[in-house]
């Protein structure tokens, strides 16, 4: 009898703590579901949903795929841009990032402390994380550098090189293990970081007064010149990416820097609060999507 009471109490306590932990992400979950609903509706049938593509040409509608499924948003604009998807498939027959995964594996095995800090390498979908002890968002790049520093080593550049290689290995292992993006909001401070990140994403900034959302929520599926803009949903799933423009691999931090420049703004510091908060928001939006890195983008 006593055993039963203990068991029940434990179950209730666990249930309560789960519900309590869940409460910090109430708003984030509402936002995420609204975004998924918006994107699924928009790309269910672009030609029928012309309100989302007010200036698209008949050729554009021919090129936009119908019935894009939730999981496909990990592919960015290739989820709906038929021509882009065909080119992407062609390049992916001989992925240019395979050497980077090998280099990353070597770094994982040989760099002092890395294996101890990250015993399971299939963790790409869990970052950025909110670290309650530090009271801040920690991206995967920052976590790797923190580990290096804790082991008396010089930190790596957050944007490319060794950092991108090691992240390519982490992403590859996560993808192989069938991992999904799983960002948690464990505390009130984490929820506040999420809200700051959301504000950063939706605020008009720079001399062009564009927000990220102008192009990647409202503008997704529309074109700047001949490039179809990618959606916020799925943006963080496939990093690090090998960009044809870079002729090499880059981290999320590197991509955001480039994006901010295009937007007409002085880029924020990789690893700084502004960028990390925003990446936290962006990654949360992709919760539930498969980890799909490393991958290729134009």
């Amino acid at each position: 009898m006593i055993g039963k009471i203990v068991k029940t109490s434990v179950a209730v306590l666990i249930g309560a703590s789960v519900a309590y932990a869940g409460s910090f992400n109430t708003q984030a979950e509402k936002d995420r579901q609204a975004l998924v609903k918006y994107m699924e509706k928009k790309f269910s049938d672009p030609a029928k949903n012309k309100q989302f593509f007010p200036y698209a040409t008949p050729e554009d509608f021919k090129n936009l795929r119908k019935g894009v499924k939730f999981e496909e948003f990990r592919l960015g604009s290739y989820a709906y841009d038929k021509i882009g998807r065909a080119q992407y498939n062609d390049i992916n027959e001989m992925p240019p990032y395979e050497d980077n995964i090998d280099a990353g594996e070597e770094l994982y095995n040989k760099t002092k402390g890395i294996k101890q800090c990250f015993p399971d390498p299939a963790i790409a979908g869990e970052y950025p994380k909110f670290d309650d002890k530090k009271g801040k968002v920690v991206t995967l790049s920052v976590a790797i550098d923190d580990c290096l520093k804790a082991n008396g080593q010089k930190p790596w550049k957050l944007t490319k090189g060794k950092m991108a290689d090691l992240e390519a290995y982490f992403a590859h292992m996560s993808k192989e293990a069938g991992k999904k993006v799983h960002i948690t909001i464990p505390s009130k401070a984490a929820a506040a970081a999420y809200e700051r990140g959301k504000k950063n994403y939706y605020s008009q900034r720079g001399y062009l007064k564009l927000s990220c959302a102008t192009c990647h929520v409202q503008g997704s599926g529309n074109r700047v010149r001949r490039e179809f803009l990618s959606p916020l949903l799925g943006h963080t799933t496939h990093f690090p990416v090998y960009r044809l423009k870079w002729q090499g691999l880059g981290t999320l931090e590197r991509r955001i820097k480039g994006c901010e420049k295009n937007q007409g703004e002085n880029p924020h510091k990789p690893g700084g609060q502004w960028m990390s908060d925003m990446l936290y928001f962006m990654a949360y939006m992709s919760n539930g999507l498969p980890v799909d890195g490393p991958d290729i983008r134009k």
Binding site: Y55, Y207, L208, L210, T214, R223, G264
Partner: protein, 117 residues
């Protein structure tokens, strides 16, 4: 005879002025077209196609520009200077307000847009 001379002189002067004006305007139109199509300056083609003009892969984030020759110059100028005054939720950058283009450059773009049927 004196009157005739004066008339001829006046006609010549007016003629010359209008030729100058046309030549000046043609230069301005050309300059505006360059600003419109150059990434590091106006980069208008990133979002806008233009009716009757050959534009290299224009985007579709903004509307295809047409019938602008019927717009008053001031309305075109204001739209480029700060589009939020007429459309507060416009995605278009305020090219004048934030100093992306200066007064002369905006006037050049306006001259170009006035040729859009």
């Amino acid at each position: 005879m004196q009157k005739m001379k004066l008339f001829l002189a006046a006609t010549a002067t007016v003629g010359l002025m209008s030729v100058n004006a046309v030549a000046g305007n043609a230069d301005l139109v050309k300059e505006g077209e360059k600003i419109f199509n150059t990434k590091k300056i106006g980069n208008c083609l990133a979002c806008h196609a233009v009716n009757g003009k050959k534009i290299n892969n224009p985007g579709n984030l903004g509307p295809k520009l047409q019938g602008l020759s019927a717009w008053p110059e001031q309305a075109l100028y204001d739209k480029i200077y700060n589009p939020y005054t007429t459309n507060p939720i416009s995605a278009m950058p305020p090219f004048g307000l934030n100093g992306v283009l200066d007064d002369h450059q905006i006037k050049a773009v306006v001259a170009y847009l006035k040729t859009v049927k």
